[in-house]
Symmetry: C2
Subunit: 237 residues, 2 copies
């Protein structure tokens, strides 16, 4: 297997590292394909590995009494498992799994911790990423508190769109309903509204993003804040 080149990785967190920091991680990055719903981080279990998504993305959810609620989305801009491990906990009550299949670069928690100890610059970048994740989660609170289903759906579509190539998301209404914590029929109606307004185009198992700016009108500012923090602190790709 050819060594990974920083210029060819698609994860923008890895891209943003200094060449020296990337070299620290490179020997320990293992490419891996991911399947829909594949678990990456289990709740309250020691975290053995972290994952830099290259294609596809993962959800971070809180699993509570009934059903799970998504709190964050991590794609090629991030690192799944970063928050607990970088903050010094070997586990977390949250859970992460693949939401859209693709590829990740896996690294053992041990090696990541060692690399971070060697390079404080590396630690700094990753901690700044954790900050953007915290902002994202905070905006998710806002979205649930202030937006109706249609608005939350619009926000979710925008965030997914950022993390894929092209304009077409492959997912079912059922799936969306779980992530947003609402019933499936409600998703169908909300999607129809979005489609009627020319914001998206729905096909079976597919949602095509037609007009991002029209979607952004619905989210009451809950989209874009975390993204701006990322651009400011990590890199403006």
């Amino acid at each position: 297997m050819p060594q990974l080149q920083q210029a060819t990785v698609r994860n923008s967190l890895l891209k943003a590292l200094s060449p020296a920091d990337f070299a620290l991680l490179r020997p320990h990055l293992e490419p891996m394909t991911t399947q829909l719903r594949e678990g990456l981080i289990d709740a309250n279990q020691p975290i053995q590995e972290l994952y830099f998504p290259e294609v596809g993305f993962a959800s971070v959810v809180t699993a509570c009494t009934e059903g799970q609620i998504e709190v964050g989305l991590i794609g090629r801009e991030g690192l799944v498992g970063a928050a607990p491990v970088l903050l010094g906990s070997d586990r977390t009550p949250q859970q992460s799994f693949i939401q859209m299949s693709g590829e990740v670069l896996r690294i053992s928690a041990l090696e990541l911790r060692a690399a971070v100890r060697k390079s404080s610059k590396l630690q700094d970048v990753l901690l700044r990423y954790v900050h953007t994740l915290m902002v994202q989660i905070s905006m998710t609170v806002y979205a649930h508190a202030a937006l109706n289903l249609e608005g939350r759906l619009a926000r979710w579509l925008l965030m997914c769109h950022d993390r894929i190539d092209g304009d077409e998301l492959v997912l079912t209404h059922e799936f969306l309903s779980m992530m947003l914590g609402v019933q499936r029929a409600g998703v169908t109606l909300a999607l129809q509204n979005l489609e009627g307004a020319g914001r998206i185009k729905g096909r079976r198992k597919r949602v095509q993003i037609l007009d991002r700016s029209k979607l952004e009108q619905l989210v009451g500012g809950s989209y874009g804040v975390a993204e701006a923090e990322y651009a400011r602190l990590i890199g403006g790709a």
Copy 2:
């Protein structure tokens, strides 16, 4: 003014520090009384100071288009401003202000950063605290997504109760309604329900906690997770 003693501070994050780490911070801690609604951290402004609450607590809110929504609560267990500063951002899109007046120990961001650079053990403790804060915010997402007003109110009361001495909270329905992102009349009804079930006793501008376990029944597991992480990672006080 007498030097602060670690044994007599009430902030449990300061208490949890090693004596050497506390000594690093001590010269820079300035006691300060706080007023209701006093701003501690402004949104998108350089953070000059951080605050260890001693008495009272602060809210972290996301200010968006319309109204602000509370995402977290920081009292004598924590450090206001910890998340952005420890994660390497000099500012944050969120805002923090005093929710219940009292006392804080103020420290300049400059001095805190310097101390953290000198002692990685100090940094580790503070980062673990940031982790617990992240968990708290995640559970706030869950609360908004899965609980009705009564449940969210119960959770909020429990969290406040942890951060005060005694059983009586001084606050108005109006205030609660802003924090929970609902209308004032709804808070009145929810409080009446809680009171009818013997969980609390309401007086004008006052809410007395009568039965914590009955309150915990309403929150669907959204209370306690962050607190358990704190006990596990910082100290079981």
